[in-house]
């Protein structure tokens, strides 16, 4: 099954331009990141099984773009895509950016995020479960490894994002 993700909101013209610009800016970072993760954590591909060729749309609702992931070890794809024209995807994972980062690092429990409705998944549930279990078997912090790629500036941005998310989470109560 393949379907297009529903855009959360229709960006204005300026928003569309900003979204495309953001995609261009972050793409080199994403490419570097996904190859680094694949190199350091090769065992995660085995847990994906037949879903190495699955197209995932990861949609951080508070960013101006979404992410297209195809975890094929022979042709890895992690690219930023405009949120108003998402690609066809087999599975969609949607939530706030920092929540998604915490799930990648297993700082937050995915089932609990799903129960609280902070995490929304649609499409191929098995694909999502396999990706979750593959990521959960990784040791270390992908998020901190990513921040470290950019030195003190990267770590400062991460710290700021975490503070901002913690304050936002209080405002959202249980969510």
């Amino acid at each position: 099954m393949s379907f297009a993700a529903t855009p959360v909101s229709a960006p204005k013209i300026g928003g569309k331009l900003a979204s495309r610009l953001a995609c261009v800016i972050v793409q080199p970072i994403l490419t570097r990141l996904v190859h680094k993760i694949a190199h350091q954590h090769p065992s995660l591909f085995a847990r994906l099984g037949g879903h190495q060729a699955t197209d995932y749309l990861i949609d951080p609702v508070d960013l101006p773009f979404a992410l297209h992931l195809r975890p094929d070890p022979t042709a890895l794809i992690l690219r930023a895509v405009p949120r108003d024209t998402p690609p066809q995807a087999n599975a969609v994972i949607r939530g706030r950016f920092m929540l998604l980062l915490e799930l990648v690092d297993s700082e937050t429990d995915g089932d609990a995020a799903f129960f609280s409705r902070a995490l929304d998944i649609s499409g191929d549930t098995e694909a999502v479960v396999r990706l979750r279990n593959a990521l959960d078997d990784m040791d270390g912090s992908v998020v901190e490894e990513t921040a470290n790629m950019f030195g003190p500036a990267g770590r400062a941005i991460l710290a700021r994002l975490r503070r901002s998310y913690a304050q936002g989470a209080k405002g959202f109560g249980a969510r």
Binding site: L48, S106, T108, A112, F115, R130, N133, D137, A174
Partner: protein
């Protein structure tokens, strides 16, 4: 006072290391096949991973229990036999079994292996438990979640083996090993294929108003309002419309988790040897937080201190918790 061992779940090697670090006395896990009741996509251990996991756990003084707690269909016993042989070769500390044939095979071919009777065996009477002890040398029974603490205390006096009870996690229909609800919709068996509500048959549909329907094999089994907490997509937790219940109701069980943190002293006093945390399908985050909380609580109780439990409500299904039948037979 019993040792009150803490038995913790691990769906991946990383989760096992997390459980060990968080203070598990023993970790239970399974192979990547139908021999265990959490045969989920991307979960569980390869033989090489289990070998490393056993070595890691033993270096830290933690035991590893291998779940072989499903029922082999006729003519397919080889998978369970091979898993038992492999587990014995890898040096696991005990095997958790439900099927009498599996128990008999291990008792005959690996007589030194310690056997625990899985909750999937649904042995809840002294007579049933004694049968497994006498015929297969079972050393511990994991009790079904249908007994009150006074009943557990009484059973303890009538059986020759240790008792393990669940203390936290999924609280499903309390006929473990007998439930066939998922078979009707998916054609797969919880008890023989090791998976309830296979992920490949689960679908979540979001509506424009923010509500979410969970479907299993094309059948809607619940719809959650925009602000409503969700639960697992299992038939036993489904909400159904009936002539007398036009707005829908939970016919079997609600989305809720078991949490016996307040009953730990009574359970220890009743003679429970080990406390089991459910959740091999959950994340390292869940394992870390739940194991740490119960490690602290059990240590406090054993030291004669008041147990100050961390709040685990955020990790419960539907963000609701219950003491179930342990508190009262009136539950559901």
């Amino acid at each position: 006072m019993t040792l009150a061992e803490l038995i913790c779940p691990a769906g991946t090697p990383a989760a096992l290391r997390t459980a060990v670090e968080a203070g598990a006395d023993a970790v239970y896990c399974g192979f990547q096949n139908a021999t265990n009741a959490r045969n989920f996509p991307g979960l569980n251990f390869t033989p090489d991973e289990l070998a490393e996991a056993v070595a890691h756990a033993h270096r830290h003084g933690t035991k590893v229990l291998l779940a072989l707690n499903t029922y082999p269909p006729a003519g397919k016993f080889d998978l369970w036999r091979d898993a038992a042989d492999l587990g014995a070769r890898l040096g696991v500390d005990a095997m958790i079994v439900a099927d009498m044939g599996v128990a008999d095979y291990i008792a005959r071919h690996h007589p030194q292996m310690r056997l625990h009777l899985s909750v999937q065996a649904a042995a809840s009477s002294p007579e049933a438990i004694r049968y497994y002890c006498e015929h297969f040398g079972v050393k511990r029974v994991v009790l079904p979640r249908i007994l009150t603490i006074p009943e557990i205390r009484q059973i303890r006096t009538e059986i020759p083996c240790e008792i393990e009870t669940f203390i936290f996690g999924n609280h499903g229909l309390m006929v473990e090993g007998r439930c066939s609800l998922t078979n009707y919709l998916t054609g797969q068996s919880t008890n023989m294929d090791g998976v309830c509500s296979p992920a490949s048959d689960v679908e979540y549909i979001r509506s424009a108003d923010g509500s979410m329907a969970s479907r299993l094999a094309g059948f809607t089994i619940d719809t959650f309002g925009p602000q409503e907490m969700a639960g697992y997509p299992t038939i036993c937790k489904g909400r159904y419309i009936a002539p007398s219940q036009p707005d829908g109701y939970y016919a079997f069980e609600e989305p809720v988790s078991l949490n016996l943190s307040r009953l730990l002293p009574e359970l220890i006093d009743a003679g429970v040897h080990a406390f089991k945390i459910e959740g091999r399908q959950r994340s390292k985050s869940y394992v870390r937080n739940v194991v740490r909380a119960f490690r602290q609580a059990v240590d406090d109780i054993r030291a004669g201190r008041h147990a100050n439990m961390a709040d685990l409500i955020a990790l419960t299904e539907g963000q609701k918790q219950t003491q179930g039948a342990f508190e009262t037979k009136k539950w559901r």
